[in-house]
């Protein structure tokens, strides 16, 4: 299989050697990855692994200590001026983990969707804006007639997260960064929400970064998966390969810890010893090597 660069397809957003230090602590160490139109990359790791730092760098909430970010081929690592930052942020949109905190409780859904349109697409007339809001709601599988006048507290977590996605889409972004978008939702409705993310990404050619600690859901959204541990990407490749033939010890640990129906604890399957061993042995730098086409694994230096 040819990789996308070999086919001449250029990434929409690209991170090269992206590094973030807080004092002496390195939260993200030389991360390389690319996001392509209509495709998603899942960034999987535990709390404190550097996932959210990555999101903050890509959205210019933080400025990288080292490395570069390219958007549509242009170096956007250091943006100067409010106008440039605003332009970049409307192209790179974010959906946050907490569907409750991300919406203003004092405003209804119509307000949440009309505002970004009024700000970023002033050319639209009032009537066009109303149509655009209804289209956005339909795109995220919500019924405008029912949803438009609702306040956040009148909706379930999944519905609120759909509104958050609609709001991100309102400005026609080329990139959507979704930071744990389903981790606060019931397990039973995660799939239907993730379906919406997956379909919209394809239909609108959005490049998506799907940040999660739930590797089981990566398969349902993302073509590619990168596993991050203590600030370093330790394995990266086509999602099915990473999940079905994991090579790095940390990826294996992560997969073994995913709750699985019908395998009760305590029948010789204790994970704690393995977890302790992996945490110790996977510290430290190393080289990413390509083990099969497109599948990269970090080997200790």
């Amino acid at each position: 299989m040819n990789s996308l660069p070999e086919l001449g397809i250029r990434p929409v957003l690209e991170a090269r050697g992206l590094t973030m230090r807080f004092g002496s602590f390195c939260a993200l160490d030389s991360a390389d990855f690319s996001l392509y139109s209509g495709r998603a990359l899942a960034l999987v790791g535990e709390s404190g692994s550097g996932k959210s730092t990555c999101a903050k760098l890509l959205t210019h909430v933080l400025t990288a200590s080292e490395g570069h970010i390219f958007h549509a081929g242009r170096d956007v690592t250091n943006l100067t001026g409010r106008k440039a930052v605003l332009e970049y942020r409307s192209a790179v949109q974010m959906v946050f983990q907490d569907p409750f905190a991300a919406l203003n409780p004092a405003h209804n859904v119509e307000h949440h969707l009309t505002r970004p349109l009024a700000l970023h697409r002033p050319d639209l007339s009032a009537a066009q804006r109303r149509d655009a809001v209804a289209d956005l709601l339909r795109a995220v599988d919500l019924d405008p007639a029912i949803t438009l006048r609702k306040y956040p507290h009148e909706m379930s977590g999944g519905q609120r997260q759909r509104v958050n996605l609609a709001r991100a889409l309102a400005v026609n972004p080329s990139v959507v960064i979704a930071d744990e978008p389903t981790s606060m939702l019931d397990v039973s409705i995660r799939l239907s929400v993730l379906d919406t993310f997956r379909d919209l990404k394809r239909e609108r050619g959005i490049a998506m970064l799907y940040i999660t600690h739930d590797i089981a859901t990566a398969r349902y959204v993302a073509e590619e998966t990168a596993v991050i541990f203590r600030g370093r990407i330790v394995e990266r490749g086509p999602t099915a390969q990473v999940i079905d033939s994991p090579r790095h010890p940390y990826t294996r640990l992560l997969l073994a810890a995913v709750p699985e129906v019908g395998s009760p604890f305590g029948e010789g399957n204790s994970l704690a010893p393995l977890a302790a061993q992996v945490r110790e042995s996977c510290e430290g730098p190393g080289d990413l090597r390509e083990v099969t086409p497109g599948h990269w694994v970090r080997f200790a230096a």
């Binding site: 535990e46 709390s47 404190g48 009148e154 909706m155 379930s156 977590g157 999944g158 519905q159 019931d186 397990v187 039973s188 409705i189 995660r190 799939l191 239907s192 993730l194 379906d195 600690h213 739930d214 590797i215 089981a216 859901t217 398969r219 349902y220 999940i243 079905d244 640990l253 992560l254 997969l255 810890a257 995913v258 709750p259 699985e260 129906v261 019908g262 395998s263 009760p264 604890f265 305590g266 204790s270 994970l271 704690a272 977890a275």
Partner: protein, 276 residues
């Protein structure tokens, strides 16, 4: 395992709303045996946490218990007055909540928070308290020499271990755990629950485990109950429920879990949300 420890009969909990009473828990009955782990699963709003709060008498207005009975180890829980309730909680029943790790006081050393709890239950010897605290921390895999650290010096998983150690301090008969690992990542969640599973065999406490994660529940619990709109619609062992669910809702709930390794041709169910 046959000695009954908890008996819940026809429990009804109502919420007072501007439009009158809304019944959140409808005639729920179940038992828990000594040392047993019973799971209650259900979606947001199904009433599972309301049941847990009612059993611990932690429900607050606008929630009211409007019917039924709760007995824990011979005590009529609903008949306890405030003073009796304070002594009973923690001694007979303790509670670990989802964000319990954030319930630790950030400006007090961990040892001081253990001391508070012991003193509230009549244990006041300084040396005794420190010995007991050390034993409890060791039991959940935290070095006793760290007892004088502050909460922020521990990771989320370690703080949750500290809270569990505190919940086990007075050897309760039942520990109510409401989404105790939902805020943690999967590896830490697994380590913590393995620890709890081992401890309950060692110490013999029973657990009422509330979660929305059916897969996790099937791994950790002896029996599982499924709640839907305030009712307990099915209750059996995980293996029986997986093999032969009695309700269509239960079957769909199991089939909605995104599997790590989907089997070819397997149909996953996309659950519709129950609007709030």
């Amino acid at each position: 395992m046959t000695e009954l420890i908890l008996s819940v009969r026809d429990l009804c909990v109502d919420y007072a709303t501007p439009n009158g009473l809304t019944r959140a828990v409808k005639n729920v009955s179940f038992d828990i045996s000594a040392g047993e782990v019973l799971g209650l699963a259900g979606e947001s709003g199904s009433g599972k946490s309301t049941v847990a709060f009612a059993i611990a008498r932690l429900h607050r207005p606008p929630a009211f218990i409007t019917g039924g009975s709760i007995h824990l180890a011979g005590t009529d829980v609903l008949a306890l007055n405030d003073r009796e309730l304070r002594a009973w909680r923690w001694r007979d029943l303790s509670v670990v909540l989802q964000s319990a790790m954030n319930a630790l006081n950030p400006v007090l050393r961990v040892s001081a928070q253990f001391a508070d709890m012991f003193k509230a239950h009549g244990i006041s010897g300084k040396a005794d308290i420190r010995t007991r605290t050390a034993e409890l921390l060791l039991m959940v895999g935290i070095k006793p020499e760290r007892m004088d650290d502050y909460p922020h010096q521990f990771s989320g998983g370690m703080r949750q271990r500290i809270v569990i150690a505190m919940a086990l301090a007075l050897r309760p008969k039942l520990v109510v755990m409401d989404e105790p690992t939902t805020a943690l990542d999967v590896v830490v969640q697994r380590e913590l629950l393995e620890e709890v599973a081992a401890l309950r065999h060692k110490l013999g406490f029973a657990v009422l485990f509330i979660t929305h994660d059916l897969a996790l529940m099937s791994q950790f619990c002896d029996r599982v109950g499924v709640m839907l709109r305030g009712q307990l619609i099915e209750l059996s062992t995980p293996s029986a429920m997986i093999a032969d669910p009695q309700q269509d809702y239960t079957r769909r709930l199991w089939a909605s879990i995104p599997p790590l390794h989907p089997k070819p041709g397997e149909t996953l169910v996309r659950m519709k949300e129950t609007p709030q």
